[in-house]
Symmetry: C2
Subunit: 148 residues, 2 copies
Amino acid sequence: MRITTQGDYALKCILRIAADGPRGPVAISRIVEKEGLPLDYLEQLLLKLRRRRLIKSVRGVKGGYLLNAPAASISVAQVLEAVEGDVFELICGRKRKSGKSCKGSQGCVLKDVWKNLKKKIETYLDSVGLDELLKRSRCIHEKGRGPR
Amino acid sequence: MRITTQGDYALKCILRIAADGPRGPVAISRIVEKEGLPLDYLEQLLLKLRRRRLIKSVRGVKGGYLLNAPAASISVAQVLEAVEGDVFELICGRKRKSGKSCKGSQGCVLKDVWKNLKKKIETYLDSVGLDELLKRSRCIHEKGRGPR
DNA sequence: ATATACCCGACGTTTTTTGTCAAGATTTTA
DNA sequence: TAAAATCTTGACAAAAAACGTCGGGTATAT
């Protein structure tokens, strides 16, 4: 398994896009400004998100990114998978120098453990939608500016 | 989060120790023979397991390793933590070049996601004991040699 | 046209993981 | 006591992964 800054960055990006999207395409520069992350790196992540059709892009002046589906229908799991690949690569599957990739005497009881773990992780991450995060984040920030 | 071959190797080692321990200390060479893993590397992992007091060692001829507690009281989580450190290091905690480690506009709704995920992972991994794995593995292997 | 902004592949650096080595300490056994 | 087996430990080397940067390209609004 592997959850790295990529996943964290990607989520921050897409959350910002979800938050500001209603007011038009969100440029990378805007995300950088708000989140303080390396622009060139984000470019790559956003590319991946687009290829997975989680976001769409608008080129040219005034361009930027927009969600490609309602926030509620995009889950944290989807975002992570888009940028990190399979969120939990089964360890048993890895190639090792020694070759014989799972021939240990334990047969592969461990494989079951990893498989179950993967399942639990995916279930949880899939249950958290961007809409939920957005709501919570608005709750936290709540500038003075009252409800409109 | 980070689960690598270290964790997998360490589990294989300790399972073998659990399996063969009853017949006396289990030498690294025996583990290598059975599991086909790099000896010098295992040495390091076993050291970590020992320091965490999950196993104990016997030096000299006929020496080797033994569980330091009943298999039932050692969980997969304990083994992984021993060799990989915190099984799920909160991403928000990491230092980044840019400094300000979590100042993004999302405050840190994400922190909650990671925290919950961590909890779920730990709960599961902590619920799986070595005894259980051992039982399953015996079930799978079941040589002709009848009971007892 | 020009400025803005996405597109995308290639590259370089750093960090982590994986693996190896060598010298030492302990214990059994002959 | 000498030899052999076996753990102990730190240092080092190699490989892989993650992180970040760059430069040239394409599309679009003004």
